[in-house]
């Protein structure tokens, strides 16, 4: 039941986001952090990343912001584990969530934040083009 609900939610979101430009749902423009510190916040590029992901451009999505791709892989693995545990109700179950996956969320968010701003500040490399 949980696996089916997760999959159905993902499918509905995918088709909705493909039809409606995400920029009409989420306000575009620079956030408070980037305006005041002249650096990217951990969420910067998230809207563009989701837009690229629903168009199928994985590379562009990761370069804009890796959080949506990580979340997608993470949720797909959870769905597969839930489905496996439901089908194999009497056998050994797979863990739906591991500790390293949870810590990985923090690592992806903070790691990308640090890396992107090092590239911006020290090497003047700006993939998103918001500052340079």
């Amino acid at each position: 039941m949980a696996a089916s609900a997760l999959l159905l939610t993902g499918i509905v979101l995918f088709f909705v986001l493909r039809q409606i430009p995400i920029e009409t749902i989420v306000k575009s423009g620079r956030c408070y952090f980037s305006t005041h510190f002249n650096m990217y916040c951990p969420g910067c590029g998230g809207t563009r990343a989701v837009s690229a992901l629903v168009r199928g451009d994985i590379i562009d999505s990761i370069l804009s912001n890796p959080i949506p791709v990580y979340a997608l892989v993470f949720l797909l693995r959870m769905w597969a584990a839930l489905l496996y545990n439901t089908v194999r109700s009497k056998g050994k179950k797979i863990r739906v969530l591991y500790d390293w996956e949870a810590w990985g969320i923090l690592a992806v968010v903070l790691g990308h934040f640090i890396l992107r701003n090092i590239l911006l500040v020290l090497f003047h490399i700006d993939y998103l083009g918001d500052f340079i």
């Binding site: 423009g29 956030c31 998230g46 863990r95 969320i105």
Partner: protein, 106 residues
Amino acid sequence: MVKCGKCGTENPDGSIRCVACGRELSDQGEDYKTIAILALVFGIVGFFVNPFCLISVAAIVLGIIGNVYSVNNKSMAMAGWILGICSGVFQMVIDFFCTFGLGIFC
């Protein structure tokens, strides 16, 4: 000794099931530890990435679940839901006063 998360009975090390209520002891600690970790992570991340305050809501819900059911990771779960509340309030203040939008996504 291994403490049962359901009834609190102390069981001998290596026990597979609780001697009092029969609940499996093998992976219960790991499951709620992971939920506590997830609550803490969402609580921290919610200060930076928080579309529709959903990350804060997730931190609060998971933190409360972890705080109630976890045996050895209550403090981590509590930190998660407290940070979830703080990040949610922070996000709403930023949204209201600074952008009138939906927050962090640029």
